[in-house]
């Protein structure tokens, strides 16, 4: 269209300005810090690539990366999976649609810290709900947050918390599929599960991609659950908690920033990989 160039500029400008001032500039400042050894806020000393060298020999960081990837796997499979299944089901029923739509969203409203607290009381060894149940049934108490279990135990609330979020995005996406598509499918006798795989999912593929990207980036920032439920102990250290520890608890902003940059790079790589894997022709109607 004529004069589009002007509009591209004008429409992108406010967002670009906001992002530059409040995200990119601070982030580049972090990048700058990553070349310094910092002590608190006042002393800093240029140390070149030392922080990056430390990054590569940091065993804790390696573990934190693996744990984050493990949670990411659970999130993509279960969180996105459950959300998709629920969305398809709600799309297919007639009664109580609105009820389910509203209710599934509830957990998203509660803050992560509050949910973590709830699960602390589930898992607690001495008076947790699960162990109360076990003892009343005559079983031995179980250490739910043991080294082999803790990460999975944390994955449960992590997955559960945001299912409703992706559910709403999927329902929104499905709402714009033209009814004629379904009518046509019906005439050809495509229903139920087949309809979901052949029609619904391909039609909302672009939204699924967005959701998976959101899930990946969200997982990289997981923090509250781990911090509150297990104090990042017993094999549950993730990148979010590790960075927080370095930057805020240890007050080593230099290395903390280096970890943050590592997180962004890792995230971009994973997101690109995911995008490559999910590549398919976009459908417009």
């Amino acid at each position: 269209m004529k004069g589009d160039r002007k509009y591209i500029w004008m429409f992108l400008f406010p967002s670009a300005a906001f992002l530059t001032i409040f995200l990119y500039y601070p982030f580049f400042k972090s990048l700058y810090f990553s070349f310094y050894r910092t002590k608190g806020f006042f002393d800093k000393k240029f140390i070149g690539w030392d922080n990056y060298e430390r990054l590569f020999s940091d065993k804790m960081l390696g573990q934190a990366t693996l744990h984050t990837l493990e949670i990411m796997l659970y999130v993509i499979v279960f969180q996105v999976g459950i959300a998709l299944v629920l969305a398809v089901m709600v799309d297919n029923i007639t009664k109580l649609k609105g009820f389910f739509r509203s209710v599934f969203f509830f957990p998203v409203v509660i803050s992560g810290t509050a949910i973590s607290l709830l699960f602390v009381l589930f898992y607690n060894y001495n008076f947790g709900l699960l162990n109360n149940l076990l003892t009343s049934l005559g079983f031995e108490k179980v250490l739910w947050l043991s080294e082999s279990n803790a990460l999975k135990a944390i994955a449960v609330p992590t997955v559960w918390h945001y299912v409703g979020f992706y559910f709403v995005l999927f329902v929104t996406a499905m709402s714009k599929i033209p009814e004629d598509y379904y009518d046509a499918a019906k005439i050809e006798g495509i229903t139920g599960f087949k309809k979901m795989v052949k029609l619904t999912i391909p039609l909302i593929m672009s939204d699924i991609k967005v959701v998976i990207t959101l899930a990946i980036t969200g997982t990289l920032k997981v923090f509250d659950f781990v911090w509150v439920i297990s104090r990042a102990q017993n094999g549950t250290e993730v990148l979010g908690t590790y960075m927080y520890k370095k930057a805020m608890v240890d007050q080593n902003f230099g290395y903390g920033s280096t970890v943050a940059i590592y997180m962004v790079v890792l995230g971009v790589v994973i997101a690109l990989l995911a995008n490559r894997l999910l590549k398919s022709d976009e459908i417009t109607y």
Partner: protein, 291 residues
């Protein structure tokens, strides 16, 4: 392909004709089961807010038949809770408006225009989602101090708008990219310029996605404790999360008080959500411009 022109009536018509089957029963069972896992925790928190801390620990799953109001009196004694709610609404509400307006415009450009550098912008946006708040908080705070915005409403609105824009742009662009070209062409023939096209066509047509984004952005902004504590901690401007966290942090082990704090933050949001979800429903089913 014609643009979808459907309404709730038609949908209901075509779907009620289906016979009630085993599959449908199964679906209702699954959906009900899942809804219980989301209702119960809310009830649990509400229930426990009427108990003393030790009862929360030792019998958190019993009903509070003799409600104890100490937690609520402690919470209300200390604070001007109404003012904090107001602060929250002003700051989160403004954040939402900015995000929708600016994010909507950017999303419109990214989804409906072809220009060089578009892919690059998308990649940058995806990368932006990954920047953790901890990595930017200190420089942002310095910036706010220098512009004297700390402890003013803008001190929270501006960084939060920036923080939520990326998500909004990506989600709205995803939706807008699937809107039929015909609509645009028709508008062009009518002599609309790009601005009018955005306001008159793309905003209304994308109502469902704007509604979802509104909810999420509002929630994130409302629940964002970390920024609130640092940028707007002063009593006259602090939002409800910061206030309640202050109440509970000193006695972080008082589970009863914690439950109350959560109840007080969640309840208004939940009520608002239940109220507006009707409108969202409407947006969802309308799907496209009428006529």
């Amino acid at each position: 392909m014609q643009p979808a022109i459907s309404n709730g009536q038609q949908i209901r018509y075509s779907k009620t004709k289906k016979r009630f089957s085993l599959g449908t029963a199964f679906m209702y069972i699954v959906l009900t089961a899942w809804s219980l896992t989301t209702i119960y925790p809310l009830f649990w928190i509400f229930n426990n807010s009427f108990k003393e801390s030790r009862d929360v620990m030792n019998k958190s799953f019993s009903l509070a038949w003799d409600p104890v109001l100490t937690n609520y009196t402690t919470a209300f004694d200390r604070i001007n809770i109404g003012k904090s709610y107001l602060n929250s609404i002003i700051m989160s509400g403004s954040t939402v408006i900015f995000v929708l307006l600016f994010g909507g415009l950017a999303a419109y450009v990214l989804s409906r225009f072809n220009f060089r550098g578009k892919r690059v912008i998308y990649s940058i946006l995806y990368a932006t989602l990954l920047v953790p708040a901890f990595a930017t908080v200190v420089p942002v705070y310095e910036l706010l101090i220098k512009t004297s915005l700390v402890n003013t409403y803008w001190g929270l609105i501006l960084p939060q708008t920036a923080g939520n824009l990326t998500f909004a742009i990506l989600v709205i662009a995803g939706y807008m990219s699937t809107i039929a070209k015909e609509l645009e062409e028709a508008a062009f023939i009518d002599g609309c310029n790009r601005w009018q096209m955005f306001m008159k066509i793309f905003m209304p047509v994308s109502r469902p996605v704007f509604a979802s984004v509104t909810i999420f952005v509002f929630l994130w902004s409302y629940n964002d404790l970390f920024s609130a504590l640092i940028f707007v901690s002063k009593e006259s401007v602090r939002p409800i999360v910061a206030l309640l966290s202050e109440i509970s942090s000193q006695y972080g082990t008082d589970f009863g008080l914690m439950a109350t704090a959560v109840t007080l933050t969640v309840l208004p949001i939940l009520l608002i959500y239940l109220f507006i979800s009707k409108f969202i429903e409407q947006g969802l089913t309308e799907g496209a411009v009428k006529g």
